[in-house]
């Protein structure tokens, strides 16, 4: 299954990528393929660097080893202007929405158009209203970002991300912290945008059910490695204990409930001694 996806078909390929932050290895030699026109999800517990992966694909971070190819171009070999040209065709939806707080909803959606095109204002207006209509928030165009709910902000950000008709969109935790109705709206939106616009979508998420419902292919990442991959059905059936724990949400399993620590009983018994030592150490320094 791993290499059956040919690179001709994939829009984004990640090859043997390694990345660390400080001493912590975030990714250790991982390879992923993202097929054109499909929704590919990257799943894993919080803190596994899923957002970092999106930033690596977007060229905001540089890997230690390995390469990221988007539409045949090696992202980290590009010159600045080339990278910026590539980014115009990559939309990204940030977890917070990242709307510009000093502009209205309308101006936010118009922002990429005004920055990158020389279209007349009347045409920009038409485009903005079309994009807002697509996310169902045409009526909210005069609101300021601080007047929006979290779900609305994300939908506006989505309208902004598709303003330049990109070839792909990266979603960073699109479902986190949403009420069921907004969540449903977002799931529906991502799916319909993908089919109607023929976008390639990359979703980073730890919301198992919503993601499994729309993804065509899923990678499960843990501790910098890919621990499972396949279609949602294959993942559900996975024999890997780890994947099973993640998908079902069991409290204990291969991922322990407890953070690595010394033996509980030893720890309790030694606590009195240790704290005394700590006190003497501190006074010793003084």
């Amino acid at each position: 299954m791993d290499n059956s996806v040919s690179s001709q078909n994939s829009l984004v390929s990640v090859h043997n990528l390694s990345f660390s932050r400080g001493n912590k290895k975030i990714f250790d030699d991982i390879s992923l393929e993202f097929e054109r026109g499909k929704i590919t999800a990257i799943m894993g517990p919080s803190g596994t660097g899923k957002t970092t992966l999106l930033k690596l694909i977007g060229g905001q971070l540089f890997p230690e080893r390995g390469s990221v190819t988007v539409n045949g171009q090696n992202v980290h070999r590009l010159r600045r202007s080339e990278l910026y040209n590539l980014r115009k065709r990559m939309g990204m939806l940030f977890q917070s929405g990242a709307l510009l707080t000093d502009m209205s909803v309308y101006d936010n959606v118009a922002f990429p158009l005004r920055e990158h095109t020389h279209l007349p204002e009347s045409m920009i207006r038409t485009l903005v209203l079309m994009k807002l209509q697509a996310v169902g928030l045409r009526g909210a165009r005069d609101l300021m970002p601080n007047e929006l709910s979290g779900g609305m902000a994300r939908r506006i950000a989505l309208a902004r991300a598709i303003a330049l008709d990109p070839m792909m969109i990266m979603y960073d935790e699109p479902f986190t912290g949403q009420d069921p109705i907004s969540m449903g709206a977002l799931v529906h939106l991502i799916k319909s945008l993908n089919t109607t616009l023929g976008l390639t979508s990359i979703i980073v998420s730890h919301d198992v059910h919503e993601t499994a419902a729309i993804a065509d292919y899923i990678y499960v990442i843990s501790d910098g490695k890919i621990v499972g991959q396949g279609t949602p059905a294959e993942i559900q059936q996975s024999e890997s204990e780890w994947v099973q724990q993640f998908m079902t949400g069991a409290a204990d399993g291969p991922v322990h409930f407890h953070y690595p620590a010394a033996d509980y009983v030893d720890d309790l018994l030694s606590s009195a001694k240790r704290s005394r030592r700590r006190v003497s150490k501190r006074y010793g320094q003084l």
Binding site: K55, G58, Q60, Y84, N85, R87, K88, M90, G91, M92, F94, Q95, S96, A98, L99, L100, T101, F111, P112, E115, H116, A157, R160
Partner: protein, 259 residues
């Protein structure tokens, strides 16, 4: 002791690293100015938040500083029977020193801290990162216009400060204490030189505006993107700006007025 040396070494190193980052940031900002100039709207909007919002604090402070100078100057000068030179004293101290320095310090406190907080919050809420992903260079789009606005506003604010201060000194000296009106102005005009005093004062305020805006923007851009990081960066802006302004003032004064 060894710990202390280690601490010292580490601190020195991080400050140099920061200075290096700041310099690259500055170069990037300056490079962005070319892209901003065709869009005066961006600068105009920032002139509002940087200049107009500092207007009130500058004029009120200028008035009081001038009035105090008039009062103190009168008491000292009348001991020598030289009240006539009050205008010289008020104008020279304002135009050469207090105008550029005090208005720059107020500017750092009012506009500088606001800039740091604004940029820092934009970073914390991923707005800068989001802009980058929209293929918009945040330094060119966000930083450069603010930098230009600060650079342009500072000499105007300093000139206003000096003018209001001289009028304040006039109100106290001439209006309240009875110094001769003609002497106040004519002595001032005889003693102050356009090149030596006014132009040098404007150069000072340009330099202070450059440095204070640079520090404020860099601290915001370089902030740790948390609410605590932003608040720390804001404090650093005010402290570092004050140090830089006062230190530079000494150097500039030595260069300009030291014959």
């Amino acid at each position: 002791m060894i710990q202390f040396v280690q601490y010292l070494g580490r601190t020195t190193r991080t400050s140099f690293t920061k200075l290096g980052r700041g310099t690259f940031f500055l170069l990037h900002t300056l490079a962005g100015i070319g892209d901003v100039l065709p869009r005066p709207r961006l600068i105009l909007n920032q002139m509002y938040s940087v200049g107009v919002l500092s207007f009130l604090i500058i004029t009120i402070s200028g008035l009081f500083v001038g009035m105090v100078l008039g009062l103190q100057g009168y008491y000292i000068l009348s001991d020598f029977g030289a009240e006539e030179t009050l205008g010289v004293m008020v104008a020279a101290s304002l135009v050469r020193e207090l105008g550029p320095v005090v208005s720059a310090l107020l500017f750092a406190g009012r506009a500088g801290s606001a800039l740091t907080a604004e940029i820092g919050l934009m970073k914390a809420t991923e707005q800068l990162s989001g802009m980058e992903m929209m293929a918009v260079d945040p330094i060119k789009r966000i930083i450069s216009p603010r930098f230009l606005a600060g650079l342009l506003s500072m000499p105007l604010l300093a000139a206003l400060f000096s003018m209001i201060g001289i009028i304040g000194g006039f109100m106290v000296g001439v209006g309240l204490l009875g110094v001769d009106e003609g002497a106040y102005w004519s002595q001032m005009q005889d003693s102050l030189d356009f090149q030596d005093d006014i132009v040098n004062g404007v150069i000072k305020s340009l330099v202070f505006g450059f440095v204070a805006t640079w520090i404020a923007l860099f601290e915001g851009y370089d902030t740790i993107p948390t609410s605590e990081g932003v608040s720390r960066a804001t404090t650093r802006t005010v402290v570092n700006s004050a140090f830089s302004i006062l230190g530079l003032d000494f150097i500039l004064t030595a260069l300009m007025f030291g014959d």
